[in-house]
Point group: C2
Chain length 335, copies 2
């Protein structure tokens, strides 16, 4: 039996093994992704992000427990740690998190370090999501820390994006929120038993209003237009006003209501056609990323190492600009 068949049969050990293969981008992992892909497209993908210190991990744990309790859904959690791009080690290990949810075969948690670079993290996350989706998990939660471009790339995967904040998180959190606000579907004020919760909620409300532009925009990068979940895409989906939910992850207060809000958003997407639109945009980004990576690999295989080193040397010595060197190498590679 192949690894992908074992996964379709619900074997947990095979699942763990394939996740590692996929994370390491092995030939076996790639082959399994092709076999599993026809079985994807069913899971509800939920992205959870927000400021550091907002208590996202605890909230995600509680949310998973609530999915089990109220709906008996199978839940996978992918925790993306920006902890170590170089060592590849996850600081918040699987074991610590598993303690809460241990023993339930219908919850699966995977921690991932922010290894690789240049779009690699988002691609790996997308692949892990596909494995969980094919393995029959009803909900796949992707949790990221922070709110930079890489987080935006990752939450772009989601049908529903949940942004978590908490009272009293320092003075330039405000600046961080604007970008992520534009892709928020559900807002959470966690640690709602702390002082300042009204102020945080008020701040979120005004950030939300500020961050919903009405003009149409496209992202451009070196002449390439990128398909993204931009605000206008949401406008096409109809009118969805992101609700703000207070929670206390520590004792579970507000978590059932948060789950309801997430489910309402899924229903709304299904009814408005937004579900299909997001699915398509997500796969579009994925296809473009794969093409880009493959083009570079082929190019490097066609080019001699000496030619590259020679061009780099010319750049270091300022005989050519990087752009000129790139053009020269592309000419050689095309021969």
């Amino acid at each position: 039996m192949t690894l992908s068949q074992a996964i379709l049969n619900g074997e947990r050990l095979a699942l763990a093994r394939l996740l590692t293969q996929v994370e390491n981008d092995t030939p076996q992992g790639r082959a399994a992704l092709i076999e599993l892909f026809p079985h994807t497209g069913k899971a509800h993908l939920v992205g959870v992000t927000g400021s550091p210190g907002a208590g996202k991990s605890s909230l995600v744990n509680q949310l998973a427990l609530q999915y089990r309790k109220s709906q008996e859904k199978r839940v996978a959690i992918i925790a993306v740690d920006p902890s170590s791009p170089f060592t590849g080690g996850a600081v918040l290990g699987d074991r610590v998190r598993m303690r809460d949810l241990f023993g339930d075969p219908n919850i699966f948690i995977r921690s991932m370090a922010s290894r690789g670079s240049l779009g690699g993290l988002a691609q790996t996350t997308a692949n892990l999501v596909q494995v969980f989706d094919a393995a029959g998990f009803d909900v796949v939660i992707v949790e990221t820390v922070g709110a930079g471009q890489s987080e935006v790339d990752i939450v772009r995967l989601a049908h529903t994006t949940v942004v978590v904040e908490a009272p009293g998180l320092g003075d330039d959190i405000q600046a961080l929120k604007a970008g992520i606000m534009e892709i928020a579907d559900v807002l959470v004020v966690n640690k709602a038993d702390r002082p300042g919760v009204e102020n945080t909620e008020k701040a979120l409300k005004s950030m939300l209003e500020l961050s919903r532009p009405t003009t149409k925009r496209t992202l451009k990068h070196h002449g390439t237009e990128m398909t993204v979940f931009a605000p206008q895409e949401k406008a096409e989906d109809g009118v969805w006003t992101p609700p703000i939910q207070r929670t206390i992850a520590f004792d579970g207060t507000g978590v059932p209501e948060l789950l309801e809000a997430i489910e309402r958003h899924a229903d709304y997407l299904r009814q408005s056609g937004g579900w299909q639109r997001r699915e398509r945009a997500r796969l579009d980004v994925e296809l473009q990323t794969l093409i880009r990576a493959e083009l570079l690999t082929r190019f490097r295989e066609a080019l001699s190492a000496q030619a590259y080193e020679k061009a780099l040397e010319d750049v270091v010595e300022r005989k050519m600009s990087p752009w000129q060197a790139a053009q020269t190498l592309l000419k050689e590679g095309a021969r």
Copy 2:
């Protein structure tokens, strides 16, 4: 007179104009970058990053003032805001920051939104750095918010990386710090008048020890090995133990000592050969990024829009996996 000649002559208005051209990746901007490149390689590139709320912007302002006061150096600041990947608007505008430093023609501040994606931000920042370098700025400070992969990509530009923390920044700041610690050359505990400064310093020290692996590693992404400022590169440079400096950006306490630490690191790099190694690694990453972008542009020009749409449709309908679709399209594009 061309724009680049005006910049080499030190014309401030031309500089501002070219920065905009470069940010928007216009043909004029590209042409100027080629003309200016032979004049680069002199500036000391200083990356400043760290947790949100650590007070990086105020500290960078103070640092720029100190450079003027003690060394009469010309200083450029590039502030990279992750505020809005979609609207392209910088929340912390130029004007607010300029107020402190207004009137000094030897300080130039540029705010940049985290627009674009997939390596685009790091590339644009690299181009802006080149313009300032050619324009004769002695020091170029690149300030980023957060500590995700995109920040790591950006600070990879720097000769000297300064990581700023402050007491009491929430509970999962710890996780954020590990990745950035590995590339830190100088550590700062800002807001050192606040309670908890000893604990923050102690935490930084132990994070520092944890994050300096002794084994050699390379980054791999889809079969492509990336050249990065990995810890082993630092080991090659000799022994540099990142000092920890306390500061109070509000009143400038500790800023002269911070500047001295940064200068000591620059001297150390020059003596150990690390300066050249980092320069080369930086240009290597830049060259690879340019090749990658250009390959995609050429591929898309060669391919019909219908062929791409058809392949995407097959993926959406689960007839082909994204990887299979990419292979199919690459075959068509190569014809």
